[in-house]
Each structure stands twice: as structure tokens, then as C-alpha cells.
Symmetry: C2
Subunit: 372 residues, 2 copies
């Protein structure tokens, strides 16, 4: 995408460049890119889901396009007190293979939804889980997944409180799929959204990128590297609580999952109507992951992470926030990777290690289907 | 099951008769009965899910084995007020075919979760939705499903506030699967659970049984009957609100979905440790559904319903509650179908139309996979 490609921001804040053709809702079909978290996924949301579901929203309630929904206040009843907005988030998990270095579909299903709540500044409280099982799935595999979920939930101090199970015939699923939904509660006064980045803000990253994607892919392809590559899958709400404790002027938190760091930065740039300037040399990268990505011809900036976050804050608070992040086990490698710029709106530019400028576009296509 | 089969109620209230073999968690495999809502489904929950997830629950919190989870109170913060317990419920939907007389997977996914909340006495407020789409799904089908969901949500006055989409390769799903999770709020003071039925209570049914199962099956088999058979899929919370307005001593509300009326009555009998005496002649049945079931060799008492409820209340309130139900469009055919008895615990007996006694056991096997 050249910087002068014409853009037309739509009513809902998404910019589809001119070369993206509208979805053919009459004759088109779902393809794997619709699940990849890139432009096609957003196009599907904007063309199909949002127009249908927006009329169901309470009047005055606004969809933030974020990882979860901040719910309207519950009707007040005298004599009963609570505080802090409720947040709801959901994730389907179809990762293949079911078990991989550093985790499995069960721990991932807990971390994925816990992190969606955490990115909203919410303390995760309750999870529901819905299983779609394939006839013939070994019960021992199911048990292993379920015990892994339970362990992840206990570690994250969330309760799995309700669930449902369906079974489909052999060949109609791939082992099992898990959807988790989380309910969390914000600290009173905390407001985070991808729409709140401001020119001049600092862009922080909690650690190295690409580990989850590289772990899944090397497992899938049977590749072995000198050092083992493990998924970074982890629950981030502890790190977030630590960050909120600083009182820093945090505007945006996002976990760069499908589509990776590059796509998530683009999402924020579009939602906030700002530009971004990133320094490639500042982005931490595990050397084995870097080597694996080079070998596989993939860009780690577009690979999924499951235990990393992007934080955007007022520049004067960046150092304080970085220190707090580095003091937490999940933020030890945290660093400043760039700045929010006034424009061009929706564009993320990166100064490469060689000093040139590169446009960081959204993920296109789906190089890694079923990464989460 | 003979009335003198030995029973061993386990810690969690489920009775597995002696002839049910324990799950072989080392070498066993998932089969379709695990998704059918009968004994095998319960066995899977008791052997795999509950033991794993119970350690994640807050101390003092008890799983009611109900359609949703009543959540512990949120931490109180002065100055902010709310009231009524929050309830969370989730359902996976894998119905095949996707479109059927009287509904589709989209409307069903809304009604299913709305009804789970309603059965807990909660007013449904918010839904999340997670889609698993098969590569190659016509977008026009997806749009039709999504618009149907939106229509059902608007009619039920619930907001679809957040969602997620994953895509799997051709052959790894069957068109699409939808998991919905709902958040609702109970009226202050309302407490309903399958554990609360008492000897002497009246058992009410809101209308005829088997319509949903018969509609799906005849669509699947390409059968045609004199009168069209339509699914009864509908949101029941309006009917429930109407019932709660009476102030009747309601103990249990349940929607007899998978496994049908017979299985749901058994679940309640086990959970409450009571017996039940049902009158076959009192159970309303659509004549075309009766004929279709006879033709297909299926028992309508075991067929899924998606817009009916069982209510158990103090016998002195039964008439008042019935009148209220009959005054609502979804309860016009409501009737008294039996009584709760002191024992034998966990057994449901039915006086047949010919005057004999029949044991109504749980659904065994899965005569109708993927009914919802």
C-alpha cells in the first residue's frame, strides 16, 4: 500500500483501501483469510456482523471495536452496591495441533479470553466454556485439555462457572473446538480503548514477538531448531494490574494475537485516527524465533502472540510504566518501540534496522491458519 | 431400569445406575451420545468437566447443575448501586441442517441461551457470540444466519455486544457452528434451581412436546406430512416474567431441550432427590408431530423442544400459575402434567393412557444427533 492510496474511513472507523473489493454477499464464500485477523476479517465484521447486531445495542451504547464489550450499567436497586463497569469478551479456539510447546488448546482458551478482559482494564472473574467435540476424540486428550484449562484458570484466579458440550460426527470437527466467554470488572475510573491513542503518545511492547506463531508452525511442520521454541501463551491480567497501579495515563492496551504486532498497531491507528512511527531495532525478538521465521519465509511482526501486550500511554508516563512492566515476570523485556503521530491517519510506518522507512500494512491473506 | 435397580448418588447429586460403566479415560473415545443430553452427557460432565473445574470456583460458591451459573456478588464499592444476582449461561449450537421450518441455527443460538437465562429467573441482558465457520460457506448463508440472530435478539430485547470468528478448512466443520453466552440479572429474591423440587409440588408444562425434534428430523429426512411441522424455537423470558409476576412459589424452571421432557424430568428428580408421577394423557402433543414420531419410531417425550418450559411450584399455586401461563402467547396450552412424590428418589413414573405405570428413564444413546 503506497502512502498516497486513497482511504475512505467508514462510519465505524475502519479504513478499507480502494483496492479492497467489497464482499460479494450474494455469491461470495468464506475463505481462510476471513479468520486470519487481517483486513478480510475486519471486512467480514464490518459487512456482515456489525450492521446486523448494532440494532440490538442499548440506546447510547457504543461499540468500541475492542477486545471485549464494556457493558451498560445494571439497573440500580437501592440497598445493593457494586462498582466498576462489567466487561464481557469471547473467543473461539480452533488451534491446530491441539498440543504444542508451551501450551495446548485448553490453556490457550483460558489465556485468550482472560487477556481480552485484561486489555479492557478488567479483572477477570468468571469464564464460561463451550465445547464442540468430534466423535472419536480420545477421552484422554479431552481430559488433558480440560485439566490444562482448569490449571490455567486457577493460576489466573478465574472461575469456570458454566459450560455446554456438543458432539459432531467424525470429520465434522478437528478433535475439539473451545469457545470461552469471560466476565470481568474494571477498576472504577479506568477507561481503555483502541480509540484513545493521541499524537505524541508512547508505544510500549511487553516483550519479544512471534513466539506463539513460530511454536505452532514448527510443531505443525515437524521442524526442530537449536533452542526449542515455546508459545508465550500466558494470562496478562497480573501485568496489567501492576501497570494500572502506577496511575500512568494509559490509553490503549492490546494483545497482538492473530495478525501480530503489525496488524494490531494498524487496528489502533485506524480506530484512533492517528499515525504511528515504529523503530524496528527496538522490537525484541527471540533469536531462535527470528531464525525460524527467516527459514519459513515469515515475518515475525505478523505472527501471533498469546502473552504479549501493546500499551499506549502519555509520553511523560512512559518511563514509569516501563519500569513497572519490567518489574513483572511477563514484562521483563518491555520496551518503547515508537510513537503515535498526528497522521497520516491509519498508517503505521517503521524505520528499518537499515535506516529506511517501511509501511507496515495489515496482514493480508492467511499464512498461518488456525493459529489460535 | 427397574424400580429396584441400586442407585448410588454421588457427591454432586447425579445418580448413575449400576449398569452404567465408568468412562474409560485412558482408552475411551468421545461418541455421539456424549452430546445427546442423556446419561452419557452427564457422565462426561461428572467424570471430566466438573472434577477439573470445581477447584476454580470461589470458596463457598456452589454449582447448582442448572442451565446457567448464578454468579457470586461483585465486590461492593460505595456510591454505585445495583441489584439482583448476575447469571451467566452458554450454549454451543451445531444443528444440522442450518435452516429448518420455524428457525435456523442463528435464531436457535439466541433462543437457546436466552432460555437458559430465563430458566434461572434472569432477565437476559447481553449476549456474546463466537462463530466457527467452514471455509467455503456461502456468505449469503452466513448473512442469513446473522440477520436471523439479530432479529431474534431484538425480539428478545437482548444486545449482542461482543464476538469472535474463526475459520477452519473445508471439511473441518459443517457450514458453521455458533456458541452464544448470555449475561442476565435475576429479580431480587428470585431463586430457582433443579434442586428445589419438593414432594407434593405440581409439575406444569407450557405446551406440546417434540415439535423441534420432529421439525429437524423431517427436514433432514425430506419427509412431508399433511400439516407442516415447525420448530417451536422461541425466547421464553417474557413468559417467565409473566409467571414471576404472579408471586407463585416457583421452585424449578427448565426448558426440555436435548433429551426431551423425559430426560429433563429425570434431571430434576435426581437433583432434588425426589420422585415424580406423570400423567401421559395430560401431556399435550401436536397430532402431526405424534404421527411423525410414530412413523419415525421415535418417542416425542425424548425429543428436543426449544420453546417450552417445565415449571415446578407449590401445589396451592398451580392454578394461579397455569392461568398466568395460558394468558401468554407461549403458554396457551399450559397444563398440569403431574406431581412431585417423596420417592423413590430420582425416579419418574408415568401413568400411561391405558392406565398402566411406565418408568420414564433418561434418554439413552442419541437417536437424533445435532438437534441443536
Amino acid at each position: 500500500m503506497s502512502p498516497d492510496t486513497p482511504h475512505k474511513p467508514d462510519r465505524l472507523g475502519t479504513i478499507q483501501p480502494a483496492y479492497v473489493r467489497p464482499l460479494d454477499l450474494k455469491r461470495g464464500r468464506v475463505d481462510l483469510t476471513h479468520g486470519a485477523g487481517g483486513r478480510a476479517s475486519h471486512q467480514l465484521i464490518d459487512s456482515v456482523f456489525r450492521p446486523a447486531f448494532a440494532p440490538t445495542w442499548p440506546s447510547g451504547w457504543q461499540d468500541g471495536g475492542d477486545d471485549g464489550a464494556v457493558l451498560p450499567d445494571l439497573p440500580a436497586v437501592p440497598g445493593s452496591a457494586t462498582g466498576g463497569k462489567l466487561v464481557m469478551a469471547t473467543d473461539a479456539h480452533v488451534v491446530s495441533p491441539l498440543f504444542f510447546p508451551g501450551g495446548d488448546i485448553g490453556s490457550l482458551a483460558v489465556h485468550g479470553t482472560v487477556n481480552d478482559l485484561a486489555m479492557m482494564g478488567a479483572r477477570p472473574l468468571h469464564l464460561s466454556v463451550s465445547f464442540i467435540l468430534e466423535e472419536g476424540l480420545p477421552l484422554s486428550d479431552l481430559l488433558r485439555v480440560v485439566q490444562s484449562m482448569a490449571r490455567a484458570a486457577r493460576e489466573a484466579e478465574v472461575a469456570i462457572v458454566t459450560g455446554d458440550t456438543k458432539v459432531v460426527e467424525r470429520g465434522k470437527a478437528d478433535g475439539l473446538y473451545i469457545s470461552t466467554t469471560g466476565l470481568g470488572q474494571c477498576r472504577p475510573g479506568v477507561r481503555l480503548s483502541g480509540r484513545l491513542a493521541q499524537a505524541g503518545d508512547a508505544i510500549l511492547l511487553s516483550g519479544c514477538v512471534g513466539d506463539h506463531g513460530a511454536a505452532i508452525l514448527s510443531q505443525r511442520e515437524g521442524l526442530r531448531f537449536e533452542a526449542p521454541i515455546e508459545s508465550d501463551s500466558a494470562a496478562l491480567h497480573g501485568l496489567v494490574a501492576h501497570m494500572l497501579d502506577t496511575g500512568a495515563a494509559l490509553r490503549v492496551l492490546r494483545d497482538p494475537t492473530r495478525g501480530g504486532l503489525a496488524t494490531t498497531l494498524n487496528e489502533i491507528a485506524v480506530a484512533s485516527g492517528v499515525g504511528m512511527q515504529i523503530e524496528e531495532s527496538a522490537i525484541p525478538l527471540n533469536p531462535t524465533v527470528a531464525a525460524a521465521c527467516e527459514f519459513m519465509g515469515l515475518d515475525p511482526l505478523y505472527m501471533a502472540n498469546e502473552g504479549k501486550l501493546i500499551a499506549i500511554c502519555a509520553s511523560e508516563d512512559a518511563e514509569r510504566l516501563l519500569s513497572a512492566m519490567r518489574a513483572h515476570p511477563l514484562g521483563r523485556e518491555a520496551c518503547l518501540i515508537g510513537q503515535v503521530t498526528p497522521g497520516p491517519a491509519g498508517q503505521v510506518r517503521m524505520r528499518t534496522a537499515f535506516g529506511g522507512q517501511r509501511m507496515l500494512d495489515w496482514l493480508m491473506g492467511d499464512p498461518l491458519p488456525r493459529i489460535c
